[in-house]
């Protein structure tokens, strides 16, 4: 039951009516409904590892209560806190990285001529483990640092950790945002709900029309790069850059839009990242909830930017190494993380990593040549990164890069079919360009009503027409 399936929308409709039936009674009943719905949703997707999410929830909830009980005993607080962190990280490490580390260790020994008979375990990757573990850890750290008070409402906390809209691919919401909303009464607001429906439509458009169609070309090229020309692989890299954006931001838009129907304001995860003028701006706009998580819980505790340049560089490399590993147990992700850390180097050395916090071309419709150059450069650098990210192995990434630059770079395997998909992608970017100051591309504030209705109508028609070519959400695998 993924976010583009009929069953998901039937599930949402039923839950929507049940949920608002209790609007006038108690928000606690609504929370209980969310917990039931989330458990049902999770078990339907993959019931095998449901126990792990229960352990994570209970461990973090009770550690919060214990931290409160021993608020004056620093040693006990430290012990409770670290015990909880170790439990959560151990579960994540075992289920996500165990085989990766065993394999890497064996390979390392082989390099030195030692042969071993280690066997890898047949471990399944629990759905959404990276997302809910990070949510739980952020709660624990915030409670430990006394930024928030621990909750005494187990149902609200369970709803926070297991929230079905965020469980498979985020956003990694903080307790300060989502948990506080779960602990207060929600009201149905017409404008918010309508805005939510529009955001769902835009999310579906990005996923079904853009990402799923780009995936056809990308999958074909990456499945057999040895047979492809450099131009084809370069185009596949660009299309993957578009695909991963449409896929992940589409998912997030659907989640946030559905959240609005239930009276929630979920964390924004994307802010038109491909309209960035340098890599630092890109990371402020891409997967914002994860980037801010790393900033708050790794980068700043390590010293952040208030230390020597050498330490800033070290901290940046640590953050992007962990970020790469967070995405998956494969060396391609590690290299991808380190590649982005390297892109930060010139910005850190020249002190420009905090530049461009404003909206690009604010108040204008036309970019300057400098801005166009900056955006194109950033896009190209990010695309190189996505090629590493998408490749099955480092060797495959190396092969793709070598072919892009050396083997028929101008020969592209291209049909009119893909021209149509590229045209649709360009339309998506143009719409987003004009709406870049808005929360999402269909968030109209000043347009006449008939234009709003017509745009939504056309978007829905496109979704309906391209519905069917199903592709798994990329980030649900992390």
């Amino acid at each position: 039951m993924d976010f583009t399936s009929v069953s998901f929308f039937l599930f949402i409709i039923v839950l929507f009516f049940l949920y608002w039936l209790f609007e006038k009674k108690s928000y606690k009943i609504q929370n209980a409904l969310i917990v039931i719905a989330s458990c049902f949703f999770y078990c339907l997707m993959d019931w095998r590892c449901f126990g792990l999410i229960v352990i994570t929830t209970l461990s973090s909830y009770y550690s919060g209560l214990l931290l409160e009980r021993h608020s004056s005993d620093i040693r006990k607080r430290k012990l409770i806190h670290w015990l909880n962190i170790i439990i959560n990280v151990s579960i994540l490490a075992f289920f996500k990285y165990c085989n990766f580390f065993i394999d890497s260790f064996v390979n390392l020994l082989n390099v030195f001529g030692c042969t071993t008979d280690f066997v890898t375990l047949n471990i399944i990757l629990p759905l959404g483990i990276s997302f809910y573990t990070f949510k739980a850890i952020s709660y624990s750290i915030d409670v430990y640092n006394r930024k928030i008070n621990p909750t005494h409402d187990l149902i609200a906390f369970t709803a926070f950790i297991t929230f079905f809209l965020e469980i498979t691919a985020g956003p990694i919401d903080r307790a300060t945002n989502l948990l506080s909303q779960l602990e207060t009464k929600r009201f149905f607001k017409y404008d918010v709900a309508l805005n939510g429906v529009r955001q769902i439509l835009w999310g579906l458009f990005k996923k079904i029309v853009i990402a799923n169609n780009c995936a056809l070309y990308v999958n074909s090229a990456f499945a057999n790069p040895a047979d492809k020309t450099g131009g084809t692989l370069a185009l596949a890299g660009i299309l993957f850059t578009i695909q991963i954006y449409g896929d992940f931001s589409g998912y997030t838009d659907i989640a946030i839009g559905v959240g609005k129907l239930f009276g929630f304001n979920l964390t924004k995860n994307f802010n038109y990242p491909y309209l960035s003028r340098n890599i630092a701006e890109f990371w402020r706009k891409w997967h914002i909830s994860l980037t801010s998580w790393f900033r708050d819980y790794i980068y700043i505790p390590l010293g952040g930017s208030r230390c020597s340049k050498w330490k800033i560089i070290r901290n940046t490399f640590i953050v992007y190494l962990v970020s790469g590993l967070w995405h998956g147990a494969n060396w391609t992700f590690v290299i991808w993380g380190l590649y982005h850390a390297c892109l930060f180097l010139p910005l850190i050395l020249t002190g420009r990593n905090k530049k461009y916090k404003d909206t690009i071309a604010d108040g204008k419709y036309i970019l300057t040549w400098k801005e166009i150059g900056q955006i194109v450069c950033t896009f190209v650098l990010v695309t190189f990164g996505w090629i590493i990210f998408r490749a099955d192995s480092i060797e495959q990434a190396g092969l793709i890069f070598s072919k892009i630059f050396t083997y028929k770079p101008l020969s592209i395997d291209f049909t009119n079919e893909y021209a149509l998909y590229i045209l649709l992608s360009i339309i998506m970017f143009v719409v987003e360009w004009f709406q870049r100051k808005q929360e999402h591309a269909l968030c109209f504030t000043k347009s006449p009503k008939w234009i709003r209705i017509m745009v939504c109508f056309i978007v829905l028609l496109c979704i309906f027409a391209f519905w069917g070519n199903e592709q798994t959400f990329i980030y649900s695998q992390f």
Partner: protein, 306 residues
């Protein structure tokens, strides 16, 4: 809340009316599925030779060269489950049926379609719309011509708008003409097709048993008809580069089934030297000349065995 639900309902109703009207209009455009279904309904009581299978059969056997009444009911990418469904649908009226020819390509034993599945499974909608193939209640995208679209559909509609007769390959006997009008002549570089036709771990594919059972059911249900499993000729750039293990595995499965039943014969013309370059439209499809040659070979063979 009431205002919200009312507005959403009005919007949804307008959308459904618009889509419904467009769907009705699109279904009026003739296509291979609707044409073949109508022809089968009209002719099925006279058919003596029925051809089923994928594009290799569709463009490879021209029934006009048989000396008995024949019909080519094959469709592009059709797996055995759909061939069986078509056969079962018209079975009660196939009173004169003597021979069923089923294409056995190197990917046939591994191919199945599930609603919402990958690859060519989007074609299920045509079987549902025109042949009443059953699909699950939640499978919305396979109920409409307008959904599950791809570029080829858009082009088909564009051609239909310009020329109402220009989008149907099939002639009166179900044979597919004009392959080259719509496809590039892929002679040397057929690696994409080979990749698509190759199945990893083919010997462990769960679809093999499923497809074997389909073939057995067809054979057992028609004890008085000759069932011919036919591997059509392909050009050397294809035959030499396909996974030879998979190829031999398919040949083994086909031979096993043929050996199991008296009324079943396996004809393997994969590398038949009688077919020259002029006989191919591309590396794995016959041209019209090739189809003529193959059909005459088949006709002679059928005359011999009868």
């Amino acid at each position: 809340m009431k205002r919200f639900l009312f507005n959403i309902l009005i919007f949804a109703c307008c959308f459904l009316c618009f889509v419904g009207t467009c769907e009705l209009l699109v279904r009026q455009i003739p296509n291979d599925y609707s044409v073949k279904k109508n022809l089968l309904e009209k002719k099925h009581s006279n058919i003596k030779i029925l051809c089923l299978g994928n594009s290799q059969m569709y463009f490879g056997i021209n029934p006009v060269f048989f000396n008995k009444t024949a019909f080519n009911a094959a469709h592009v990418s059709e797996p055995l489950q759909m061939s069986q469904f078509i056969l079962n649908k018209f079975d009660s009226g196939l009173d004169s049926l003597e021979t069923i020819i089923i294409s056995m390509s190197i990917f046939t034993p591994f191919s199945t379609w599930e609603p919402g599945g990958k690859g060519e499974a989007w074609r299920i909608k045509h079987y549902h719309i025109y042949y009443d193939y059953p699909i699950p209640w939640y499978d919305i995208e396979d109920r409409f011509e307008l959904s599950n679209l791809n570029y080829n559909n858009l082009i088909r509609w564009k051609k239909a708008l310009l020329n109402p007769n220009g989008i149907v390959y099939s002639d009166e006997m179900g044979f597919g003409h004009n392959y080259l009008q719509y496809h590039t002549r892929d002679w040397e570089n057929c690696s994409d097709a080979i990749r698509v036709h190759t199945t990893d771990n083919y010997s462990k594919s769960p679809n093999v048993e499923y497809n074997r059972q389909i073939l057995q059911q067809i054979i057992e249900k028609h004890p008085h008809a000759n069932i011919i499993l036919l591997t059509t000729p392909c050009w050397k750039t294809y035959t030499e580069n396909v996974d030879q293990g998979q190829r031999h595995y398919v040949e083994k499965i086909s031979s096993e089934i043929a050996d199991q039943y008296e009324n079943c014969i396996y004809m393997n013309l994969f590398e038949d030297s009688r077919f020259t370059a002029e006989d191919f439209a591309d590396a794995y499809h016959l041209s019209e000349a090739g189809a003529c040659k193959l059909t005459k070979i088949m006709n002679a063979f059928l005359n011999d065995i009868q």
